[in-house]
Symmetry: C2
Subunit: 344 residues, 2 copies
Amino acid sequence: MSQSDDPTPISRKRNPRGVTMEAVGRMAGVSQVTVSRALSDPSKVSPETMARIREAIAVTGFVPNALAGALASRKSMMVSALVPSITNIVYASMLAPFSEELKSRGYQILLSETGFDPEEEAATVEAHLSRRPDAILLTGVHHAPRTRRMLLGADVPVVEVWDMTETPIDLCVGFSHAASGRAVADFAREAGYRRAAGICAGDERAQRRLAAFAESFGQSSGTEVPVARTTRGNLAAGRALLAELIDERGFTGGLVACSSDVLAQGVLIEAAARGLSVPGDLAVVGFGDQELAAAVEPGLTTIRVNREALGRAAAQALLARIDGGNPSQDLIDVGFTLIRRASA
Amino acid sequence: MSQSDDPTPISRKRNPRGVTMEAVGRMAGVSQVTVSRALSDPSKVSPETMARIREAIAVTGFVPNALAGALASRKSMMVSALVPSITNIVYASMLAPFSEELKSRGYQILLSETGFDPEEEAATVEAHLSRRPDAILLTGVHHAPRTRRMLLGADVPVVEVWDMTETPIDLCVGFSHAASGRAVADFAREAGYRRAAGICAGDERAQRRLAAFAESFGQSSGTEVPVARTTRGNLAAGRALLAELIDERGFTGGLVACSSDVLAQGVLIEAAARGLSVPGDLAVVGFGDQELAAAVEPGLTTIRVNREALGRAAAQALLARIDGGNPSQDLIDVGFTLIRRASA
DNA sequence: TCAGCGCATGAAACCGCAATCATCACGAAT
DNA sequence: ATTCGTGATGATTGCGGTTTCATGCGCTGA
């Protein structure tokens, strides 16, 4: 009665590792090759065969092994993205459209944070290259020499974003940080501000923006432009740095240029806490035009960079290169706009 | 086979595709196997050989092909992470420590956004499974049946985060959203507020928090708790929803519970714009304890969830499972804390 | 009637590495 | 002297696909 338990489980080789095309094919009465074709180009397989294969796939729950596919076809269908920090909305908001654009073409994103250290970036690039991505996105244009060498040697499309350079590794989509700093200085001058100060986060690009602002405004106004610095670019830092400017650096009023909207919002809060009116006693300019810029009171005058367009353009440039051709241009300057609101 | 020493340049095929271990070995006078060993366990190779191999690697710029390695070893050294949105700091700030923890063990992150749609999530899970990740992180505990099936069939460690369930797919690290809503209601009651309202973003977990709050507070106070809803959880939405509560829903004062700190900040801004004092005329409670919560004026009373610890714990739980054993616990409730500041 | 052709399919050769087992030289133990 | 590790290395196999080339077959046109 209970003879269902066969004592010879020997021939019963239930593939202990996942289902393969081989197994699907066996079940559908075709070879592995035909299964492969069925998935990559159904038009090359007869409708009846196709149906049986589909059935077998459904029954077995087969999921193709993309690693094997990548090895054989030399196309990983992965794109690496290296950003300094994903918790920083500025990078995250570029990444989202970048990723979406690529996803629609079947690519997946291999993401890493690199911090702001070129050496760490180099190590990360190497780790990513070992996965043979079909393209790579890097943030910024300053890299360790080794990074450049590896990337050039790997013969893979590369796009550097969020900055501009005359000598990109391959492609570049960004804007000039120095120009954005000068634009704020121009605005300050034209709006009639006589004195100014700066508040700057630690990263290299923020410093370039503020340096350009300070130099430009300083030159045209003939005044000293004090710049307070911080490593962390949060609200608390913005508050603290305005306090520093006023209490320790003798800043008595004028325009405060900040390297980010968050810092600028911190300045607004500290100003309110001190009973200073904005823009009466103190004018504030931010950078980034994050959502908060339009929502705070008073509205924040700031530099807008179309981050979504930037991310999308970066993806499209890479796709163009992958598709074989050269994109229409290697360098894309997406520019920036000064958005004037109430704070300055 | 014996024609390797053939001087005819015809058969001499300068490998046009990247450098391989084979090539490195040839240059170092050893076999491919030895190169493989040199990289995976240097102690198994003699020092002199090691030196020659290193030299050859440096000269050729060899970068091992992790795809091939993964295929052969059945370990991809990749971990999938699926989050609703990377531009939402709440998810991004879990992801950062999660990724860091795994990176230190040699894993890389395959990231995708899934939005808030279970079907999209299922498709994304399938795409990720095809890459044979060594582990998977999912956000939330509500998934399409197909997702569950695929995941169980794939026999891969899975951790669901940012929520709790009694029936996890595998592991779960999170907290109870309903409990957090009730905690706010308890607080409101104990602090003596007689009336309350809610402001709620569109995602399912936010709604569960606010529903629990409204029910709990409504029951104990015997009042109706109006809840205004939005799809986008930004500052502007917070402002608009407070306006809606006051202008259209007859809300005249009391405590406003918000499903996120950002919405709460919007409420603060709108309140200020209307000349309402906080917490005098209006008390505000947020959720998340983002950086802004401590920095705004007045400081925001909110629910803190240790997102960094959560991300780290998720990573560690997965690593424990990968290492073969069962983690000490399948379900980890990281809890939450109500942080009282000036806004309520 | 038969070469010719397109279609559906299969066989075989990789892709680049890791895992397994075999080989070899050399010194210690018997 | 023979045996037996032991450390260093190589040959072989196969992971699960893609690609290329070969095959069988029914049908068309001269």
